[in-house]
C-alpha cells in the first residue's frame, strides 16, 4: 500500500499539533474519572486497608496483560461524577478474556446512579454478545437514593442479566470486598461463584436498623451478613478470603478452573505489523472536519502488513470498501472517503455487507460522513431506497461490527455506518470526532430557515437580530453536544480514544469478539444491487 502522507508538510504538522492537543485534553478529561473520589477519599480508603477499584483490577488481571477500560468518560457533561462510580473493561484473567465490573467505593461509597446503571447494562450487553465470563468486584452502598426514581425500576435488570448469563453458560463470579446490601445482595446472590473478604464483605437484605424496625430483632452486621457467617452458615459465600489480595487470588483460581474455550476461529499467527507508521495517524485528520481525507491512509496504519484489498474501487468512490486482517483476524472495512453517501455508495455498502456475511467476516466501519445526499436529483434517483438498502443490510448483518468515528458521523450516515443504535459490538470515537443529526452550522441554519418560513406563513415580521442570536446559541449548543466527550458521556460509544491506539483497541475487541462464534446472516443469496 502506498502512502501520500508527507510527514514534513506544514499541513501535516498543523493537523498533528491539533490532534496532540486533543489527545492531551482527552488524558486530562480521563484523569477526573481515574482519580475516583479524589485523593482524600482514596487515602481514607487505603487507610482502612482497602484497595481502590482500579488497584483491584490491576491485581486481578494477568501480570502485564492489557486492560481496555470501557466508558471511562461515562457521565461526562452530566451532574454525576465522570466514570459513573464503576470501572468496566476487558481484561485477561488466567488467559481468559473476561468482562470486569468493579464498583468504585471512593465515589459516594460506590453508590449506583443512572450513569452507573447505564454503564453496567452496557457491560452486561458486551458480555452477552461476545460470550465473556463476568467478574464483578463488589463494594457498593447500593442505590444513590436521590436518584432512586431513575434507577430502581430499570436497575432490576442487573440481577436478571446475571442469571441470564449463567443460563447462557457464561460464568459469573462475584468478589465481595465490602457493602453489598439490600438489592446489591443479589449480585453475589445471582453469581455462579461468590468470594467474600473476611471482615470486609457485608451482604444482607436489611441491616440492623431496618431489622429492628421490621421485627424488633436486635442484630449486628456480622450475624446478618458477615463473610464468616456466609461462608460457614448461610452458604452464600463459596470461598472465604483472608483479605482483599486473597480474594483476588481466589478469583483468579476460579477462572483458571472454568476450562474456558473460545468458540470463534483463532487468529492467524505470525502476522506483520503495519508497514506505515501508526504515529502518522496524528497528522492525517484535518483539524477542520469539513476537509475530507483519504481513509486508506488510516487503514494502512491499522491493518496487518498495511495490506488492504479494495472491493469495487472504481464504483461509489465516496465509500471505500475492502478486505484486510487486523491482529490476525480477517475483517471487511467500510470507510467514508468524501463524507457524502450517494446512491452508488449505499448500494456498494449493502452488497459488501452481504458478502461479509457470506464469509463470516467481521466488519469495521470507519466513520467520516455528513450523511446521505439530499436534493431533488438524488431524491428522484431513489436515495431513500438505496440508503434503506444499506441500513437494512447493516441492521440484519449478523457478523460482529466495530465502529470507529474518525471525524464526523452525521445524520442517517451514522445509522448506515452501524452507529450505536445498530449495536456494533464495540464503538469508539477519536478525540475531536463529532456525532449529531447534522453539522452545528447547518442545524442552526435549518432552524433559522424554518422559523423564517413560519414567520412568513403567519405574516409576522422576522426578527433578524433575534434569529442571529438564536443561531449562535443553537450552533454553540449543538457543537458542544456533538463532541465525542458528550456522546461518550451519554454512553453512545465505548470510549474516546487516541487515534494511535486504534489498532491495539480493535485487536483487543476482535479477540474478545471471537470468544463467541462468528456467523453471517443466512436466508438469501447476495443481492447484486
Amino acid at each position: 500500500m502506498r502512502t501520500s502522507v508527507d510527514a514534513t508538510s506544514p499541513g501535516y504538522a498543523a493537523n498533528r499539533e491539533v490532534m496532540l492537543e486533543r489527545v492531551a485534553d482527552l488524558a486530562a478529561q480521563q484523569a477526573a474519572a481515574l482519580a475516583g473520589g479524589g485523593p482524600k477519599a482514596v487515602e481514607r480508603h487505603h487507610r482502612r486497608g482497602k484497595l481502590t477499584a482500579r488497584e483491584r483490577v490491576e491485581l486481578l488481571i494477568d501480570p502485564d496483560s492489557p486492560f481496555l477500560e470501557l466508558g471511562v468518560l461515562a457521565g461526562w457533561g452530566t451532574d454525576f461524577a465522570v466514570g459513573g462510580s464503576v470501572v468496566t473493561g476487558l481484561g485477561v484473567i488466567e488467559g481468559v478474556e473476561c468482562l470486569i465490573i468493579a464498583h468504585d467505593p471512593t465515589v459516594k461509597g460506590g453508590a449506583s446512579n443512572p450513569v452507573t446503571v447505564r454503564k453496567i447494562f452496557r457491560a452486561n450487553q458486551i458480555a452477552a454478545e461476545n460470550r465473556l465470563p463476568t467478574v464483578t468486584l463488589v463494594e457498593s452502598g447500593g442505590a444513590d437514593l436521590q436518584t432512586q426514581k431513575d434507577i430502581f425500576i430499570p436497575g432490576g435488570a442487573v440481577f436478571r442479566n446475571l442469571t441470564a448469563a449463567s443460563a447462557d453458560r457464561r460464568p459469573t463470579i462475584a468478589l465481595v470486598f465490602g457493602n453489598s446490601t439490600a438489592g446489591g445482595a443479589y449480585v453475589p446472590g445471582m453469581s455462579d461463584y461468590t468470594v467474600m473478604v473476611k471482615d470486609g464483605a457485608k451482604v444482607f437484605l436489611g441491616g440492623p436498623p431496618l431489622v429492628k424496625m421490621a421485627t424488633g430483632e436486635e442484630s449486628d452486621d456480622e450475624s446478618l451478613g458477615g463473610a464468616e457467617m456466609h461462608a460457614r452458615t448461610s452458604g452464600l459465600a463459596d470461598y472465604l478470603a483472608a483479605d482483599e489480595l486473597d480474594a483476588l487470588r481466589i478469583g483468579r483460581s476460579i477462572v483458571r478452573r472454568l476450562n474456558w474455550r473460545k468458540l470463534g476461529p483463532p487468529p492467524r499467527r505470525g502476522y506483520a505489523e503495519p508497514l506505515l507508521d501508526t504515529e502518522e495517524l496524528l497528522g492525517i485528520v484535518p483539524s477542520d472536519l469539513k476537509v475530507p481525507f483519504d481513509p486508506r491512509e488510516v487503514i494502512g496504519r491499522i491493518v496487518d502488513g498495511s495490506e488492504f484489498d479494495e472491493f469495487k474501487p472504481l464504483y461509489g468512490t465516496s465509500l471505500v470498501t475492502g478486505w484486510a486482517q487486523l491482529h490476525g483476524y480477517p475483517i471487511g472495512i467500510l470507510a467514508n472517503a468524501q463524507g457524502v453517501l450517494f446512491s452508488q455508495e449505499a448500494q456498494k455498502a449493502a452488497q459488501f455487507i452481504q458478502l461479509a456475511n457470506q464469509s463470516d467476516t467481521p466488519l469495521l466501519f470507519l466513520h467520516n460522513t455528513t450523511g446521505y445526499m439530499v436534493g431533488a436529483q438524488y431524491e428522484q434517483g431513489g436515495i431513500i431506497k438505496h440508503g434503506a438498502q444499506m441500513i437494512n443490510a447493516v441492521s440484519n448483518s449478523t457478523v460482529p461490527h466495530l465502529s470507529v468515528v474518525m471525524g464526523a458521523s452525521y445524520g442517517a450516515g451514522n445509522y448506515g455506518m452501524s452507529g450505536r443504535a445498530y449495536d456494533p459490538r464495540f464503538m469508539f470515537s477519536w478525540a475531536g470526532a463529532k456525532s449529531a443529526v447534522m453539522g452545528p452550522a447547518q442545524l442552526a441554519g435549518v432552524i433559522s430557515i424554518v422559523s423564517q418560513q413560519a414567520a412568513a406563513a403567519r405574516g409576522a415580521p422576522f426578527d433578524e437580530q433575534a434569529d442571529a442570536a438564536m443561531r449562535a446559541l443553537v450552533e454553540k449548543q449543538v457543537e458542544e453536544q456533538s463532541l465525542a466527550y458528550f456522546t461518550s458521556g451519554l454512553g453512545y460509544d465505548d470510549g474516546v480514544i487516541d487515534p494511535r491506539d486504534t489498532r491495539t483497541i480493535l485487536g483487543i475487541c476482535l479477540s474478545a469478539i471471537h470468544s463467541a462464534p462468528v456467523a453471517g446472516a443466512r436466508g438469501y443469496g447476495v443481492f447484486r444491487l
Binding site: Q30, E58, D64, P66, E69, V72, G95, T278, H327
Partner: protein
C-alpha cells in the same frame, strides 16, 4: 597395553580423564553413587557401574567395590583422579594385587609421602629445607604455629595457635578431628607464615630413570586452606628461588623413586623455601601446567603406567596460564556450600580458554560432595593477557541457578595486588570484604529494571490471548505496574507503565528503556546503550548484562494463606540432615540460642532462636533429612 579404564572418581576429573581416554581409544567405565546416576561424567562414559548409596564412605571410598566393578566391566586399569582413594596406598596395592594397572605412583611412595611427618624427615635427610616446630619444646617466640594432621589434607584438622595457653587444648582438638577424619590422630606443628606464598612444582617420572620438572605453579589464593586461583608459572619469583624450587622438587621425587605425576608443595617466604608435602597424584590445578607445556598429563600418566619411556627433555614453558575454581558457595556467607538446579551454564568458548566442568545446564548440585562446579583456565602470551582474557570470559559467563563465587573470582582478577602478582596465602581473607562487595547499587538497580521489563515483555508475548498487544497496555492508565524482586536482603520494587507500544520506567534516574523483545532488554544510560538478557525460571530471574550475571527472586503478588508459615517459624535454609535438636516443646529460649543443628555438604549449620521466646512447635527430629524451607521449629516470641 591399557584398553579399558575405570575412573574411581566423579565430577570434572572423571570427565577430564575420560576425554583423554577417548583421544587414545581407551574404553571408559564410570563408577557412580546414586546421586550421581545422571551426572555428565556417567553419561559420557562408555559404561557405568553403580556404587549403592551416596556417602563417600559407601561409594567412592569403597575400593573393594571399585575393583569388583573393574573386573565386572573387564577393565584393565584404574585411574583414581584426585581426592577419594587417590592417595590411599592400600587401595593402590589392592588394584595391583588384582592384576589391574594402577595409574599412579608405587604404593610405597604413596605411603611414605602420605605421612607428613615421615615425608618431612625424608626430605630433610635429602637436603630439602622443611618447616618444623617441635611441639615438645615450643616457646612464645615460635608462635604462631600451625597444627596439622599427619595423614590429613584439604585443610581438615588444621589449627592456628597463637598463644601458649591454648596450645595443649588446640593440639588435643586437632588430634580428635584428625582421628575422626583420617583414622589417624597423629599431628605435628610448623611455624605459621601467613604472608608466605604457596608454590608447587609439577613432577613427572617414568620407570626408566627419567624425571621431568614441569615448571611451577602459584596457588596462594586460598580460602580455608582450599585453593581458589592457581597459575603457572608462579609470578615474581627470583630466578635463583625458582631454580632452587625445581631442584628441591627433583630431589624429593628421586628420594622416593617416584613414578608418574606428582606435585611437591612449598611455602615461599621471601627467598626462604620450605617443603610442605608431596601430593602423589594428579592435582586439581594440573591444567595450568598442561597449558604452558602443551602436554596432556593424563595421557602421560597412562603412558608411564604402561611402562613407556618419557623423552629425555621436558618441553619448555610457553606463556602464562591462570585457573579459577568455580565453587557452588556463597563467599558472603562464610563460603556456605550452595545447592540447586543449574539453569544455565554457558562459559564462552575462545582460543586460549579451557573449561573442565563437573556440571552442565540442567545438572543438580547436591549436598553430598565437593562444591566445585568447574575450573576455567586461560592461557595467553603473558600474565596480564591471561588475566584479561579470563576476566572477559567470566564477565560473559551465564551461570544461573546456583550461587557461586563467580563475582569473587572476577574481583580477584581486577585486584591491583593480584594483578601485580603480590599474592600470599592469607590475601583472600584480608580482602574478603572488598572482594565480596558485589556489583555497585546502580548496576543492580539497572539489572532489576531490566528484569522487570524483560519479564513483562515475555509475560505479554507468551499469553494465550492478545500475545501481540503491547505489554501492560492501558487506554486509561491509573497506576503503574509493579514487580518486586529480592536479592539477598535487598528488595527492588520496580514500577513501570505502558506508553503506546513501549514500556517506560523512572526506576533508575537517567536510565530509559530503549527496546525490549524476546529475552533482550536494551537500556539507555545517558549516551550508553546496554543490552541485558533476562531469563526466568519459576520465581527466579537471571539478568546477564554488562556487569555480569545478577539473580533476583520475584516476590509473588499472591500467597495462598495455606502456604504461609506461622510467625516465628524456623525453616531449613538448605536441604540438610538434622544432626541435633537442642530444645523440647515448651523450652524457654533466649535470642541466639541454638535450636536445631543441620549438616549439609559436610558443613554444620546451627539454626538459632531469632528472639527470646518459647518453643511452641517442633518438627525436627535427629537423623531426618529435610528440604529447604521445611519448618523445623516454631518460637513464640515473648510478649
Amino acid at each position: 597395553m591399557i584398553r579399558k579404564l575405570v575412573v574411581a572418581n566423579r565430577g570434572e576429573i572423571a570427565r577430564r580423564v575420560f576425554r583423554t581416554c577417548r583421544e587414545l581409544g581407551i574404553a571408559t567405565v564410570a563408577v557412580h553413587s546414586d546421586a550421581d546416576a545422571t551426572a555428565p561424567f556417567v553419561t559420557e562414559a562408555d559404561q557405568a557401574i553403580r556404587l549403592p548409596g551416596n556417602a563417600p564412605a559407601d561409594t567412592y571410598l569403597r575400593g573393594d567395590l571399585i575393583i569388583e566393578a573393574a573386573r565386572a566391566a573387564g577393565a584393565d586399569a584404574i585411574h583414581p583422579g584426585y581426592g577419594f582413594l587417590s592417595e590411599n596406598a592400600a587401595f593402590a596395592g589392592a588394584v595391583e594385587a588384582a592384576g589391574l594397572t594402577w595409574i599412579g605412583p608405587a604404593p610405597e611412595s604413596i605411603a611414605t609421602m602420605g605421612s607428613k611427618i615421615d615425608a618431612k624427615r625424608l626430605m630433610a635427610a635429602a637436603g630439602v629445607p622443611v618447616l618444623a616446630a617441635d611441639l615438645a619444646t615450643v616457646t612464645a617466640s615460635d608462635l604462631p604455629l600451625l597444627v596439622k594432621a599427619s595423614a590429613g589434607g584439604g585443610g581438615r584438622g588444621m589449627r592456628i595457635v597463637d598463644s601458649l595457653d591454648r596450645l595443649a587444648d588446640q593440639v588435643a582438638r586437632a588430634e580428635a578431628e584428625a582421628a575422626s577424619a583420617f583414622g589417624d590422630g597423629t599431628v605435628f606443628a610448623e611455624p605459621y607464615l601467613p604472608t608466605a606464598r604457596h608454590v608447587e612444582v609439577q613432577i613427572l617420572a617414568d620407570t626408566h630413570g627419567t624425571t621431568w620438572v614441569l615448571g611451577d605453579r602459584d596457588c596462594s589464593l586460598q580460602r580455608r586452606h582450599q585453593k581458589v586461583v592457581e597459575e603457572a608459572p608462579a609470578p615474581l619469583l627470583a630466578h635463583e628461588t625458582r631454580t632452587s624450587l625445581h631442584a628441591f622438587a627433583l630431589a624429593a621425587a628421586q628420594a622416593v623413586g617416584y613414578r608418574g605425576a606428582g606435585t611437591v608443595e612449598f611455602l615461599v617466604d621471601g627467598d626462604r623455601i620450605f617443603f610442605l608435602e608431596m601430593n602423589t597424584r594428579l592435582q586439581v590445578e594440573h591444567p595450568v601446567t598442561e597449558c604452558v607445556t602443551g602436554l596432556d598429563l593424563v595421557a602421560l600418566q597412562i603412558a608411564v603406567a604402561e611402562g613407556r619411556p618419557l623423552p629425555a627433555q621436558a618441553p619448555p614453558i610457553t606463556g602464562h596460564a591462570i585457573e579459577v575454581r568455580l565453587y557452588a558457595e556463597d563467599p558472603a556467607a562464610a563460603f556456605a556450600p550452595q545447592t540447586g538446579h543449574v539453569r544455565a551454564f554457558d562459559i564462552p568458548h575462545h582460543p586460549g580458554v579451557r573449561m573442565d566442568s563437573a556440571v552442565e545446564a540442567g545438572s543438580e548440585v547436591g549436598v553430598h560432595y565437593d562444591a566445585m562446579l568447574a575450573k576455567v583456565i586461560a592461557h595467553a602470551a603473558d600474565r596480564d593477557a591471561a588475566i584479561r582474557l579470563l576476566d572477559g570470559v567470566l564477565r560473559r559467563a551465564r551461570l544461573h541457578g546456583v550461587t557461586t563465587n563467580l563475582d569473587l573470582l572476577r574481583a580477584v582478577l581486577s585486584d591491583d595486588e593480584f594483578i601485580a602478582g603480590r599474592v600470599h596465602t592469607t590475601l583472600l581473607d584480608e580482602r574478603l570484604d572488598r572482594w565480596t562487595a558485589g556489583p555497585d547499587p546502580r548496576s543492580l538497580a539497572k539489572a532489576a529494571l531490566a528484569a522487570a521489563i524483560g519479564q513483562a515483555t515475555r509475560a505479554a508475548a507468551t499469553s494465550t490471548v492478545l500475545d501481540r498487544i503491547p505489554a501492560a497496555w492501558r487506554n486509561a492508565a491509573a497506576q503503574p505496574r509493579r514487580r518486586v524482586y529480592r536479592r539477598g536482603p535487598d528488595r527492588y520494587t520496580v514500577t513501570y507503565s505502558s506508553a503506546g507500544r513501549r514500556l517506560v520506567s523512572d526506576f533508575v534516574t537517567g536510565v530509559t528503556v530503549a527496546d525490549a523483545h524476546g529475552d533482550l532488554v536494551v537500556l539507555s544510560d545517558g549516551p550508553i546503550r546496554e543490552t541485558y538478557r533476562v531469563t526466568t525460571s519459576g520465581q527466579s530471574v537471571d539478568v546477564d548484562g554488562p556487569a555480569g550475571s545478577v539473580s533476583f527472586e520475584l516476590i509473588p503478588t499472591f500467597v495462598d494463606p495455606a502456604d504461609t508459615v506461622a510467625p516465628g517459624s524456623l525453616v531449613a535454609p538448605m536441604p540438610a540432615a538434622v544432626t541435633d535438636v537442642a530444645v523440647e516443646l515448651g523450652t524457654v529460649v533466649a535470642k541466639g540460642d541454638p535450636i536445631v543443628v543441620l549438616e549439609a555438604m559436610k558443613m554444620q549449620h546451627t539454626v538459632t532462636a531469632p528472639t527470646d521466646g518459647t518453643v511452641t512447635g517442633l518438627t525436627a527430629t535427629v537423623g531426618r533429612q529435610v528440604v529447604a524451607g521445611a519448618v523445623l521449629a516454631v518460637i513464640e516470641e515473648k510478649p
